[in-house]
Amino acid sequence: MSAAPEPLLRIRELGVRYTSGRETVDAVRELDLDVAAGECVGIVGESGSGKTAMLLSILGLLPAGARVGGSVRFHGGELLGLPPAHLNRIRGSRIAMIFQDPMSALNPYLRVIDQLSEVPRIHGGLARRAAEQRALEALEAVHIGEPERRARQYPHQLSGGMRQRVMIAMALIGAPELLLADEPTTALDVTVQAQILTLLQELRQRTGAALLLVTHDLGIVAQLADRVGVMQGGHLIEQAPCEELFEHPRQPYTRSLLAAMPRLEAPA
């Protein structure tokens, strides 16, 4: 029997430990997870489950006091412990991330077009004019109206939904193979959230990028994910193909999460 090809992202025995003063918290424990190319994996958990820490550890974005153990391999290459120079080449171009709060990811002092063109200039080595053209194309891809005008604005002049689109544009402009998303729609109104989720689906189909999405909302995961994992207290307690998890949850915590999930009776 031939060995299966290594998945795009392969996490084994991941552990994240925060130490402050005399207190130690294990945010993530012994986590194993695979993400195949083009796949969408949704990780659900409540606050304190460690889902955000898990995501941040992939790109080395954890705060200084955190200790990370285990292995995170991308295309077979180990990410944990990579020197910053190597990590920077991967961040933004091969693995990109979208955050919950776009204002914290966008530089308030730079115009949209300047921030967007950073990635093609730094990673793609493009000249300014060409990079700006790419930036405008990215804005069109995320369906921002009047892209030329919006590109010359500053983040605070945009609405919440538009800022989130800009952040998605920034993430996708380097044509990454893997997109990490940390609660990307939590801060948005429900109608804007619906727009962004549809956008993410469309972009994934177009670019073939894999998506590792972290959220507390099972509804989002039901819409987007091929496979779902449930985190509790730092452990990944269950993972299964999407429909199977919803229909036949095995862990009692998963069952209680599904039961507590708000749902409309008889959706319109």
């Binding site: 538009m162 429900v190 109608t191 727009q195 919803f246 507590a260």
Partner: protein
């Protein structure tokens, strides 16, 4: 016809008067925009009734004016125009000691339970305070007895009385918030997004608690939220707000089953469904655009900039709230939905 008159007509003559009647409530505030001071209208002529022991859900996205409505009802911010009648008394016209006495009837649960508590005050003190302020005739031991009894009702232990707010979890803090609001036995409880800052499993607990308390104490509830499933569970009527104006007002089962307003329909469709078979197969076009700024509301119907049914008339004429089936809708083309 005014909403109140319509309600009276619909219910038939001899129906009991509503406990709370809000009529043409208008709230605006000054804001600095492009160097000048301008007025933004947060609420523009909102009217609704609340029955005794009834529960009204108020939904809408950010910028809809929901929180402004809660604060205006509680007299935390000034209203520009309109009346809020509690039986015969217009709450907006009261001042000073009269206003404080009226607070016995209407209380509020805030969005962030921890932030709504004084960080320097022990929980026990915080709970006794409403009694000290509004029921001065009670003795110390009577107050403490009441605190203990309400605490038990919201499912907490006396040990919590000694703690400080930062030592409470989100769910516990919200229970304390509810307990504090119930201390003086109000008739009306206004909840301003009480579930927003809570984890999923805690949301369900608090919703259940509110349901239980509503039934036990015959509370009239105004539940403000953007969380539609919770509103469906808790409220018998729903009011949909968009940019400070009422889009639809209907009994809960009617609204969720057959929404009459295009915005209501869009809201319902946008709620994620935690069932992959449904979520992946349904074809829904999400509503385009975003809510306009209250500094520059669209002419005519404020929803027209995002409405799939908008026509020329929508820009020229403000649609009034009118009866359609069992609901009240503010839409020129509601029949065609």
């Amino acid at each position: 016809m005014s909403t109140t008159a319509l309600n009276a007509a619909a219910m038939g003559a001899g129906a009991p008067a509503p406990l709370l009647a809000v009529h043409e409530l208008r709230v605006s505030y000054a804001v600095r925009h492009a160097g000048r001071l301008v007025r933004a209208r947060a609420l523009d002529g909102v009217s609704f009734d609340l029955e005794r022991a009834g529960s009204l859900g108020i939904v809408g996205e950010s910028g809809s004016g929901k929180s402004t409505l809660a604060r205006a009802l509680l007299r935390l911010i000034p209203a520009e125009a309109g009346t809020v009648r509690l039986r015969e008394l217009d709450l907006l016209a009261l001042r000073g000691a009269q206003l404080r006495r009226a607070r016995r009837h209407v209380q509020m649960v805030f969005q962030d339970g921890v932030a709504a508590l004084d960080p320097r005050q022990r929980i026990g003190q915080a709970l006794e305070e409403p009694l000290e302020a509004l029921r001065p005739e009670m003795s110390g031991s009577q107050r403490r007895a009441r605190v203990h009894s309400v605490l038990a009702r919201v499912g907490l232990e006396p040990a919590h009385l000694e703690r400080y707010p930062h030592q409470l979890s989100g769910g516990q803090a919200q229970r304390i918030g509810i307990a504090r609001a119930l201390m003086i036995e109000p008739e009306i409880l206004v909840c301003d997004e009480p579930l927003s800052s809570l984890d999923v499993s805690i949301k369900a607990q608090i919703t259940a608690l509110l349901q239980q308390l509503k039934a036990e104490l015959q509370l009239s509830l105004i539940f403000i939220a953007h969380d539609l499933p919770a509103v469906q569970r808790l409220c018998d009527r729903v009011l949909v707000l968009y940019l400070g104006r009422v889009m639809e007002l209907a009994p809960s089962d009617v609204l969720f089953r057959a929404p009459r307003h295009p915005y209501t329909r869009a809201l319902l469709q946008a709620v994620p469904v935690p069932d992959p078979r449904i979520a992946r197969t349904r074809r829904i076009t999400p509503l385009s655009g975003e809510i306009p700024s209250s500094l520059a509301p669209p002419s005519g119907c404020v929803f027209r900039t995002r409405c799939p049914l908008a026509v020329a008339r929508c820009a020229q004429e403000v649609p009034l709230l009118r009866h359609l089936g069992g609901s009240e809708v503010a839409c020129h083309r509601a029949e065609e939905l």
